[in-house]
């Protein structure tokens, strides 16, 4: 057993490698995200962005390398549920909400609370919970849709509902996979604002294709290519980097 490393980083990935049938989705990937930071991860298709999120959330186990949360939780040994309970929330690329539940119930299920079956069996709605849900509904601007089935929401609204569910979980770290895919320009702008708002007291990692959106966020950017980090810095530095230009435009 390795001694837990002491690192100030909230999320610490070192030399992480993941292979699927010989294909190296992640290749010696190292990444550090500090507490309170917002980080944008960019990269062409197949760069390993989603695989990286899978490793952090316990969906995929790394073949090699260290993944530490808060310096002492070895994420490579925990499953999705345990990692979620540590305080890592994830928004999927394709909006994944519970279609047959109302907007209200989607948030209710996400609210930070005792997750054990016995607790949910004896659960009674409290004023505090109603209050927390109302606050989130205001943030994600879905208050009028409260009783609608989530399945009947528009695409952009579903994306927001999912971000709202992330907020309800009260995680320490939010992983947000392509939050503006399929959104209008106006919605994209509002989403950038929303994420900045969230970043005031939470650490956020955003994976995104949309460069205009990343520019709008105005945070440190990490560019992945073939499962490894090829550039890191401000958006201007990264987009001036020769290798980044090469992988994005082809040679």
């Amino acid at each position: 057993m390795e001694e837990p490393r002491t690192t100030t980083a909230l999320l610490y990935l070192n030399g992480v490698t993941v292979s699927f049938d010989g294909f190296r989705a992640l290749n010696n990937l190292s990444l550090m995200v500090e507490i309170g930071e917002m980080r944008a991860i960019i990269g062409p298709n197949g760069a390993g962005k989603t695989t990286m999120m899978d490793v952090v959330t316990g969906k995929t186990r790394p073949d090699e390398g260290d993944v530490y949360f808060e310096g002492n939780h070895d994420l490579s040994k925990l499953d999705e549920t345990e990692i979620a309970m540590l305080g890592i929330g994830r928004k999927f690329q394709k909006p994944t909400v519970f279609d047959m539940h109302s907007v209200n119930d989607n948030l209710l299920l996400a609210l930070k609370n005792d997750r054990r079956p016995r607790a949910t069996m004896h659960w009674r709605e409290t004023l505090d919970e109603i209050d927390r849900i109302n606050r989130i509904l205001n943030i994600i601007r879905l208050k009028p849709e409260r009783d609608r089935l989530a399945g009947s929401l528009a695409h952009g609204q579903k994306q927001w509902l999912e971000i709202g569910m992330l907020l309800a979980q009260e995680p320490k770290l939010l992983l947000v996979d392509e939050p503006v895919a399929g959104m209008t320009d106006e919605e994209t702008r509002q989403t950038a604002e929303l994420l900045k708002e969230i970043n005031r007291d939470k650490t956020v990692i955003v994976v995104e294709h949309d460069m205009a959106f990343v520019r709008e966020l105005d945070v440190k950017v990490t560019c992945l290519h073939e499962g490894t980090v090829i550039a890191e810095g401000t958006i201007d530095q990264v987009s001036a980097d020769e290798r980044v230009v090469e992988v994005y435009l082809g040679r």
């Binding site: 959330t57 999705e80 549920t81 979620a84 929330g89 909400v97 279609d99 299920l109 997750r115 009783d147």
Partner: protein, 384 residues
């Protein structure tokens, strides 16, 4: 439209279902026992155990709907839990026969004497006591569901694969129970019952009481299911059904939720089987046959998956149709009819009878709400 109302344990539909059920539980025995056979309202003797059988099937359907309709677990082997409950009751009934059997052995049931066994196998001990058998009726199916579910849900077996292994489970049990050395009467099963709790199982009064007991069991099962699916636990189950991975990333242990629902469902199926056996007078390995389990799933689909009341109604309607069609000239065509019914429901009525009814009611209410939203709009302005 109003989700709060639907979330209540006893909403309109649930009340109606319970009231009708209790009325039937009182009326059928009363009309059978108190009226002379000549009366137009007399319920004929043959009908009482037949209706009791339907009610037991309804409880089985309810147990399937709990896991299929709400947790998305399609069990094609639920007949196994029903049959195990039935066998536990059958063992009690066998031991009540005593010296009245053909071989008049005070301890050993007839088939054991016939097989030249001299001692009661240990797993038949204590089955002469009703309370013990009653515990086993719930415990045995529950334990099997626990072991099966523990492995299946932990290794995240879902969908078609899970359905196939549930099917294999009931098939394996059927083959086992067919064997004489298994100790459950081989292919003849357990039959020739005499009394239950000291009352003659053949008597009209006992049959009426068993019918009422079936209705009470169904009502209790329904209340337990309603309480569960309207709780937050039920919301989590539906969340797992629709997006299991998402539920895990929210921090819920999907396998624990599924396992609990599966065990509860198996126990309910066991109770259904236990009340069924004294009414039909026999339990044999054919109850484990995979076709029985599939038929039970069809009842739920016909009535409406995920509606609870629909499952019970579907079971009663399909079995009524079965009785009608298998006793007349149409008898050879019953299986075709059942298959056709399943195809028709899947294509034309995918929500089932009760599901479609609710869907129409929701649409009507939504339309009415949209209408009323438009009309009162000028009022606040006028008030200003």
């Amino acid at each position: 439209m109003n989700p709060q109302k639907r979330d209540r344990v006893l909403n309109g539909g649930a009340w109606l279902f319970l009231v009708v059920l209790i009325a039937v539980a009182v009326a059928v025995p009363a009309l059978n026992l108190m009226l002379p056979p000549a009366s137009a309202y007399h319920v004929p003797d043959y009908l009482v155990p037949l209706l009791g059988k339907y009610v037991c099937y309804a409880l089985l359907a309810l147990s399937i709907d709990l896991i299929w309709g709400y947790a998305g677990i399609l069990s094609l082997g639920h007949g196994a839990f029903f049959a195990l409950g039935g066998y536990a009751m059958g063992m009690y009934l066998m031991r009540q026969i005593g010296t009245r059997g053909v071989y008049a052995n005070p301890i050993l049931p007839d088939f054991m004497v016939f097989l030249n066994w001299h001692e009661l196998p240990p797993y038949w001990y204590f089955f002469d006591r009703f309370w013990y058998a009653a515990i086993m009726v719930v415990l045995v199916p529950g334990a099997l569901a626990f072991v099966f579910g523990w492995f299946a849900f932990r290794s995240r077996v879902t969908g078609v694969y899970l359905s196939i292994i549930t099917q294999a489970m009931t098939f394996a049990l059927m083959l086992g129970f067919f064997r004489n050395n298994f100790g459950f009467g081989g292919n003849n099963g357990l039959t020739d019952f005499k009394d239950i709790l000291g009352f003659n199982v053949q008597s009209q009064e006992t049959r009426a009481a068993l019918f009422a007991a079936s209705c009470i069991a169904l009502a209790l099962g329904f209340l337990i299911c309603r309480a569960l699916v309207t709780s937050k636990f039920g919301k989590v189950l539906v969340a797992i059904r629709d997006a299991e991975a998402r539920t895990r990333f929210l921090g819920y242990r999907a396998e624990s939720y599924k396992l609990f629902a599966f065990i509860l469902s198996a126990c309910m199926a066991g109770v259904a089987g236990a009340i069924y056996v004294p009414q039909v007078g026999i339990i044999n390995p054919s109850e484990f046959s995979p076709a029985n389990s599939i038929e039970a799933v069809i009842w739920v689909a016909v009535g409406g998956r995920g509606t609870l009341t629909g499952a019970a109604i579907g079971a009663i309607l399909v079995n009524y149709a079965k009785t009608t069609f298998t006793t007349g000239v149409l008898a050879p065509y019953w299986l075709f009819l059942l298959g056709g019914l399943f195809i028709a429901v899947t294509l034309l009525l995918p929500r089932g009878i009760v599901g479609t009814w609710r869907w129409l009611a929701d649409r009507r209410r939504a339309a009415a709400a949209a209408e009323s939203e438009r009309t009162p709009e000028p009022t606040p302005r006028a008030a200003e």
